[in-house]
Symmetry: C2
Subunit: 698 residues, 2 copies
């Protein structure tokens, strides 16, 4: 796919160019001509001869020269006819603005579009979109009325209407854009493909995205990592709507129930290293700070203010967002002492008092910027009687030229400060309305700068028996079986070398006695029935059964359950070695397949409190060892793993290995829809899977 033909075409044909003013087919031509695009423009309209001074063509084949990009605005019904000509003309890039495809129920039509693009390696944006804007080459290939200023931001949006508001904000906030992409239905070119392209685009410094849904977590994560962790790291800021939607489907598995819709996306963005914002206001704050700042080399902030209250409020936000207040060098304090009044606060946050003139601001900020313990600055101004607002802004603008450290500013107020704020914005200094916003966005920038971990390798175990699981699933497939209860799930886990206790299945009291003798230790009894999910609730679990009592207890259990759940089909009883694991804690592992995104792995605290505390964390398969550890660290129960008061640490490595085997199983078998290992007993010495269940998709 040649995305460059879309974003940097030398020639553009508009198929469906219209002479009717106000129509989309007219707007697109007008925008291309009016904004000053320098390439060739070929309006295609069989009924017209001329449009905005350009010759019209009856169809695209009539154009003699090469066409890099075709913009299609004809009705959906004739798009495929037009596409045939596009193929004939060998046009590498296409934007389909026309609606009436999948979003309107016409899935088949969209599939045809996908097929023809794949066959001929055509890069296609849309259908059902606003178009594309590249302010760098003054190309407004959309029907948005205005073009944003040019600059370093590439914006991808799944909402066309939001684009127009963003463009208007951009002008107000002096934000410049490199690409403006309304992705539409994403039939061919999706976010992952765009991230790949933008990673290499020299004009793009920051990527912002408005997302309603994504597909294929793995692909997105890989593309995001490439752009975020490259030589020239480019942050990806995401706003995702639909975060409060209830989980798509009720699920019988713990993992399914705990992995709601937004949890998937939250995990996806974290794993990808993308910066997720909750509101559109926060997105703009971040954009202003990210586009106009170097990356800080540490998280130590100096706050400079002429008002105590806002200084403390900003300190709160700094610390709440995992930054720290810089401990100033002794020399810095001495220098501050020299220039500041006695009662000024020379400890960070530095309060240079309400009567501070611009000169005092200037001297103080210069000293702070020179302190090697200071990684970034937040400068706050409140308009008091003797405050020199404009002059202070000028001092900040001068400082910005001398230092590479990020400077974020908040001049608090309305009419008194507006002129100075405008000057700061023109000078590419992020000036936010309130200092807490400044702290929050600076924190995001710092986190991005410091947390770009290296790409690490995914788990891979050579000792797994993939063939065995393939056989089990093939057999299940043959008989239409999708659910694997414990005794069958254990076979799958055993093939992937999960640590398991000894176990056998007894179908009679006599057999129970025989098996018990063979195992030789105390036993756990668990009923086997396709109709019983929560075995404990119906008395289907007995622990610590003495081997000599096995037959007797077998009969007791069967009798009890037949009384409690008369309709349940009983296969037998699973007899399992009682595992002695003093100090052991029950964890839960799981897989939940998101049909859009992929296989989500889960780990968390199991046992009776699993549903009370929901202390679980997630990652899309495949994961690395490094990420597995991250998942554990997100748990409150991590304290239990590392040893709480009076308790020894548990075998974290065994738990990580289990997560790794789970990752490999999920990656090898994407047909696994749900999998729970519950409990996974983790003790000081190791982990052991005591129960499991698996559901596959046919």
């Amino acid at each position: 796919m040649n995305l460059n033909s879309i974003f940097n075409p030398k020639s553009i044909a508009i198929i469906g160019a219209s002479t009717q003013v106000g129509s989309v087919g007219n707007d697109v031509v007008k925008n291309l001509v009016g904004e000053g695009y320098q390439g060739k423009i070929y309006p295609v309209n069989p009924k017209a001869t001329e449009l905005y001074g350009l010759k019209c063509y009856a169809d695209i084949l009539k154009i003699k020269n090469k066409v890099d990009l075709a913009i299609i605005v004809v009705p959906a019904a004739v798009v495929m006819t037009v596409m045939d000509q596009v193929v004939q003309k060998k046009v590498p890039g296409v934007i389909v603005i026309s609606a009436g495809f999948k979003e309107a129920g016409n899935v088949e039509l969209e599939n045809q579009l996908i097929k023809i693009c794949k066959k001929h390696s055509i890069a296609l944006i849309g259908p059902n979109c606003l178009g594309v804007i590249n302010p760098i080459i003054k190309m407004n290939a959309s029907f948005a009325t205005t073009m944003p200023p040019s600059g370093g931001i590439s914006f991808l949006s799944q909402s066309g209407a939001l684009c127009t508001a963003v463009i208007d904000y951009a002008h107000k906030l002096d934000l410049g854009f490199s690409k403006f992409i309304s992705v539409g239905n994403k039939a061919v070119v999706d976010e992952a493909a765009l991230l790949e392209y933008l990673a290499a685009d020299p004009h793009t410094k920051v990527v912002a995205m408005y997302v309603e849904q994504l597909r294929d977590a793995g692909k997105f994560i890989a593309a995001a990592k490439k752009i975020i962790r490259g030589e020239n790291p480019k942050p990806v800021i995401v706003i995702k709507s639909g975060r409060t939607q209830a989980g798509a489907s009720a699920s019988a598995s713990h993992t399914g129930a705990l992995a709601g819709n937004d949890v998937s996306y939250q995990t996806l963005f974290k794993q990808a290293g993308a910066i997720r914002v909750q509101t559109s206001g926060e997105m703009f704050d971040h954009l202003r700070v990210f586009t106009h700042s170097n990356l800080p080399t540490g998280n130590r902030v100096a706050i400079l203010t002429n008002a105590g209250g806002p200084g403390v409020l900003t300190t709160d936000e700094v610390i709440a967002n995992c930054l720290t207040l810089a401990q100033l060098e002794p020399e810095t304090r001495k220098k501050l002492d020299d220039i500041l009044p006695t009662c000024a606060n020379k400890h960070n946050p530095i309060d240079i008092l309400g009567d501070a003139p611009a000169q005092r601001y200037q001297a103080a900020m210069q000293i702070l910027a020179g302190d090697k313990n200071v990684d970034s600055l937040i400068i706050i101004l409140t308009p008091q009687t003797s405050t020199q607002i404009k002059e202070t802004a000028q001092a900040i603008i001068a400082l910005k030229k001398q230092t590479k450290k990020p400077i974020v500013v908040s001049f608090m107020g309305g009419d008194l400060v507006i002129e100075a704020v405008r000057a700061l914005r023109r000078a590419k200094i992020p000036a936010l309305a309130f200092p807490e916003q400044a702290a929050r966005s600076l924190a995001a920038l710092t986190k991005f700068s410091l947390n770009r971990s290296k790409v690490s390798r995914y788990f891979s175990f050579a000792d797994v028996d993939k063939k065995k699981v393939e056989k089990i699933f093939a057999a299940a497939h043959a008989r239409g079986q999708t659910f694997f209860p414990e005794y069958e799930a254990l076979e799958i886990l055993s093939a992937y070398k999960f640590p398991l206790p000894k176990y056998y299945i007894a179908t009679s009291a006599a057999e129970a006695d025989k098996v018990a003798k063979k195992i030789g230790t105390h036993l756990a009894f668990k009923i086997i029935s396709p109709d019983i999910v929560h075995k404990t609730d119906v008395g289907g679990v007995m622990l610590n059964v003495e081997p000599a009592q096995a037959g007797k207890k077998y009969n007791e259990m069967i009798k009890r359950i037949k009384k409690q759940v008369p309709t349940a089909r009983l296969v037998g009883v699973l007899l399992m070695e009682m595992v002695k694991a003093p100090g052991g804690t029950e964890f839960i592992l799981g897989i939940n397949k998101d049909s859009n995104l992929g296989s989500l792995l889960m780990v968390g605290l199991g046992g009776t409190y699993v549903e009370v505390f929901k202390d679980v964390s997630f990652g899309f398969a495949p994961i690395s060892e490094q990420y597995a550890l991250k998942m554990l660290k997100r748990l409150k129960a991590y304290k239990i793993l590392t040893g709480t008061r009076g308790r020894n640490p548990l075998a974290v490595n065994s738990l990580i290995e289990c997560l790794g085997r789970l990752s490999q199983l999920a990656t090898d078998f994407p047909e696994i829809k749900e999998l729970d290992i519950n409990p996974l007993l983790v003790s000081e010495k190791g982990a052991m899977a005591l129960d499991g269940r698996v559901v596959i998709e046919l």
Copy 2:
């Protein structure tokens, strides 16, 4: 105290009025004269004869007429001299702007000020403050250069410098103020007193506060409840700095360790019914929505938009903040069908499409406002090609006059929308930059409207033996004892009729045998030593000891502990009846005294996970039964109390009663610094305190 003399004085003397332009003593006179205050103004300055056209007086006693308010701007050292004259002149209200008191280490001087005010019932604001502004009567009794517009907000600030920024924002955002109070050191008049006054002030509709610290939680809560729950409920919006400060002191008690500094304030504001915001931006959003809206009668919101993306983002924020999307009446849908294009979304959020003219907005919003399932409206506009921005604003202004339902607006964009936004603001319609802000502030308004619970009575038990605890504490006082280990703590709990198991103290193996026989059931053994806090860690706890084994086990325990902690002083062993409570869960109760605020009660899940999950909640004593239940409902473990899968509900009422007894104990004995009841075993049948410790202040 006569606060009215401060806020509505008929005559004001400025003691320390200065002829030096730019000085505080000059600014105050200039502000009073310049802003148009209509009462009498008496500058007091022995060296001047005239200031801004007013006659100067050598001292306040030279003024013949009555003086309602004295503003003092003389140096701290002479303030007390001036105060003597103020007393002689019988001035009921004083503002001390001068600094140099407690904040500068001059505690004694401030105490003198407090004493003289108390003695003569003088209402005093400050010292160390910016002054007071009452825009309603055009009184700028401060050295702030500008006065905010008049309106319904009363603003209390512990930061003078923040005031100037707030005034400037106020002009920009069309926010009007009724009182503007820089509280300074709060030597005499504090927030609680001001809330009492503002509750009765006819001009105050909303109170906003910037707080750095408070004292006496009980007094603040009582005053806040009065203003919030009165006939004309007035919301109190609070921004508190210092929320990320580490807890003031390391503490040996669980309750102390879990009740950090900000937890106290978080609890205080919740209990008071105040609305706490995290950032100054949020405060302004709330102020705009609260001052210009009626209270909604329900939480069902209709969202009207011309762009899908922002509609979904707003829906997210609506739901995340516990509002719901209104289910429109069938008739409403029919009416919308009549006026909207086919492909518009007539389900809430209602998307009337990008080409919506003002007329379509108007028709749709009128229909929505008329739906009885709609309690409030959020109207979103993005500036698209054919959007009629100003006309749509006019339509909203017209609607506002016809409906009592709150309308919150977001016109997204910059220059294109700014004029319309100004028109909306002038018409007192809250227009916020981003729709998520609109949703958040509307949610706060709705929560305030719906959650004003009735004042309920505090717990009071007639069966407690207060005298006995008085005696215990008096005896401890006499011998300088502050710490009460378990066996002494149990005496205190028993006096307040907490449910306790049978227990005795044995100091020898023989005695252990004797006591065990008396109790007759299995026993818990717990070592008694002033040097051992965590008994389990040193083997100082044995459970399920058979009565016949008592003497033997006694010796074993003593031997073990002497080996483990050779230096510990051993008093004996506490023998306690083993409580049989199947399905019982361990909770923890506690008291932690905050020296500023008062006695904080805590309840939470106990046992091994207490420090892992920190599942605890708080309330300042005294509490009501209603509030005790609220505290429980805030726990994740509330699910355990009400019964999780396969488990019966526990005795919630017994737990609530224990909380009540704890509240009474804390109220009766404010000298209790720390108290832990851990565990409090709660079963299906009741609660039982199994261990405790108490620390008092001498």
